[in-house]
């Protein structure tokens, strides 16, 4: 507690009034003061280093190791894990699929979130309850949301198939058509739909916060100037919403790229690797060759950084934030 009192005294004007005390003067007190922040932020920094930084190191380390399927380290493997990975027949298509998956899900999410945010920004009775309903996919576990969608797409009696049958789109149950998740292309479309569904609440809420932050008098000024509704929207709302939209898109970009439970629960990445993205592919590799999975993680990591940097550049992030 000695340090704490010294700290308190140093904080206010009390410092000079403090009676000289032999034990806390000079070097000892200086050292105490320097170490004091450690007592406050040290545990948090320690936890971050332990839970986040250590795995980053382990990931890189693993990618250069030769590890047997049962987990015994057989020594260094040089860059062999990487060459094995790059020579996987599925590797190229998995990377391309991941980029398409990310681009489509983020773009469509943002395109739907914008009108949705505007709708929920209007005044209407019951708005609060309606907004609450919107958060359900955000609060629920993505894994369980994916499970329900898989159930609703069941070829025998899934609710979506029942509906499609009623409106005449689906002719026969238990047919190839009804087995949406059994066909890679159809499965990807449905899973993208689920990814959009679970990304919408956060995106909409971020845009909603952005809309609410726009001062009313700006609109007032535009109205006085005789600007049309559309003109006001294009010259005021959209530019002022830019920052919120960029943040939502950036966070979605990272989340969607790293998305795992949707594909894992709905198709498991199959048939073959035909519906795998890089994270799912990495997880499948992990079960047989963890060194190669490590290499896939590092590549995955690299792609995320490149995508984020490219996004920041394309959106001229700096000019906006500064």
């Amino acid at each position: 507690m000695q340090e704490t009192t010294a700290e308190v005294a140093g904080a206010g004007e009390l410092a000079r009034k403090r009676p000289p005390d032999g034990r806390t003067s000079g070097a000892g007190r200086r050292l105490g003061r320097r170490l004091l922040p450690l007592a406050w932020v040290g545990p948090a920094a320690g936890l971050i280093v332990f839970a986040v930084i250590w795995p980053v190191y382990e990931m890189f380390h693993t990618s250069f190791q030769n590890i047997s399927p049962i987990g015994i380290v057989l020594g260094s493997n040089g860059t062999k894990n990487y060459s094995t990975l790059f020579h996987e027949p599925a590797f190229g298509s998995v990377v391309v699929r991941t980029i398409i998956w990310t681009a489509v899900v983020v773009t469509v999410t943002m395109a739907i979130a914008l009108p949705l945010a505007q709708l929920f920004n209007q005044r209407f009775p019951g708005r609060r309850v309606a907004r609450w309903a919107l958060i359900a996919p955000w609060a629920a576990s993505v894994m369980m949301t994916s499970i329900v969608f898989r159930w609703m797409l069941d070829p025998n009696n899934g609710a979506i198939n029942v509906l499609l049958h009623q409106v005449g789109i689906l002719k026969n149950f238990n047919s190839t058509t009804a087995d949406w998740l059994g066909r890679p292309d159809a499965a990807m479309v449905w899973m993208m739909g689920v990814a959009i569904f679970v990304s919408l609440p956060f995106s909409t809420y971020t845009l909603l916060a952005g809309l609410q932050a726009i001062p009313q008098d700006v609109y007032e000024a535009a109205r006085v100037d005789g600007a049309s509704r559309l003109g006001t929207y294009r010259s005021i709302t959209l530019p002022l919403l830019r920052r919120a939209a960029l943040i939502a898109a950036l966070i979605n970009l990272m989340n969607v790229f790293n998305s795992f439970p949707i594909i894992w629960e709905m198709t498991g990445g199959g048939p073959g690797y035909e519906t795998s993205t890089t994270t799912v592919f990495m997880y499948i590799l992990k079960q047989s060759n963890i060194g190669e999975a490590g290499a896939m993680s590092v590549v995955n990591f690299g792609i995320v950084i490149v995508i984020v940097l490219a996004f920041l550049r394309a959106s001229r992030w700096n000019s906006e934030v500064n």
């Binding site: 382990e58 890189f60 609060a139 029942v162 916060a209």
Partner: protein
């Protein structure tokens, strides 16, 4: 988030003039209700399936003839209680740990300039960018080396670590907004800084603390990939992983799978409603600063 602070009060007259005609409001309201229902439908289907009588599970309709509440009793008898306990321990443990380390760290970095403050805040920001999914191979190797596979503690630590950044950001914002005079009085009276934080600042920042608390709890409760990787037996597995046990190679026990999902999902959706408006600020604050 500077933009938030410049919102001004609109004069009553303009507000009235901007109000939409009645018909417009009705159209907006109906559209919003329809969308709200669409967002709830999958979870409604979850509940309906969980309550379907076994004999009607494969029926091609939307609603069963009656609800079989006894399904939850049979669900309980499959031993899911143990996994609920695991989920509670992991989410509860991670939440307590996050609050214990985040409150002092957020408070101190909000109030004091110290050497390494910038480094610490960058560390927090970088954590927010990292995802357990991307690092799962590293996480697995780490806890394998530590001999902590199948330990509840490994999941508590990982969940706490990855949710710490959000808690620190949101608490930091709350603490910064509290006037310093408030605790200065206590400090002059001879209370230690830690005591002042606990007795003066924490009660005022309570809404922020509750937000961080609920958010961490839900995130840890829903976490999937790390738990899937670090638990190899059913005893320590949380609900998210244990439910996968109902998915067999050839058959899926849909009833119990979705019954378990209801137990795991509905409480957190209700919990999340309490912090609904406050989460966005915390999640996005880090990306702007």
């Amino acid at each position: 988030m500077a933009a938030v602070t410049i919102s001004t009060r609109a004069p009553a007259a303009t507000r009235a003039s901007r109000r939409m005609p009645r018909l417009g409001t009705a159209v907006v309201a109906v559209a919003a209700y329809v969308i709200a229902v669409i967002f709830l439908l999958p979870y409604l289907e979850m509940v309906i399936t969980a309550l379907r009588p076994q004999s009607q599970l494969l029926d091609r309709d939307y609603l069963p003839s009656h609800f079989a509440w006894s399904n939850f009793a049979t669900l309980w008898s499959t031993g899911l209680g143990r996994n609920i306990e695991s989920s509670l321990e992991i989410a509860g443990g991670a939440t307590v740990l996050v609050l214990l380390v985040a409150i002092p760290a957020a408070y101190y970095s909000a109030r004091r300039k110290f050497r390494g403050r910038a480094l610490f805040l960058v560390l927090v920001l970088v954590t927010q960018m990292f995802q357990p999914t991307a690092l799962v191979v590293g996480i697995y190797r780490q806890f394998n080396d530590l001999n902590m596979i199948n330990s509840i503690w490994s999941l508590i630590l990982v969940n706490a670590g990855f949710n710490l950044a959000f808690a620190i950001w949101i608490l930091n914002a709350y603490f910064t907004a509290i006037p310093k005079d408030l605790e200065e009085a206590a400090l002059v009276d001879g209370t230690t800084r830690f005591g002042a934080m606990l007795r003066v600042v924490v009660p005022v920042a309570w809404p922020g603390i509750v937000t961080a608390l609920i958010f961490t709890f839900i995130a840890a409760w829903n976490e999937f990939i790390v738990a899937l990787t670090l638990t190899t037996n059913n005893t320590t597995a949380p609900l998210t992983v244990a439910l996968n046990g109902y998915i067999g190679q050839y058959q899926v026990d849909w009833q119990h799978l979705l019954g378990g999902s209801v137990v795991a999902t509905i409480p957190v959706i209700i919990l999340f409603a309490f912090i609904e408006g406050k989460v966005v600020g915390g999640l996005t604050a880090g990306s702007v600063k």
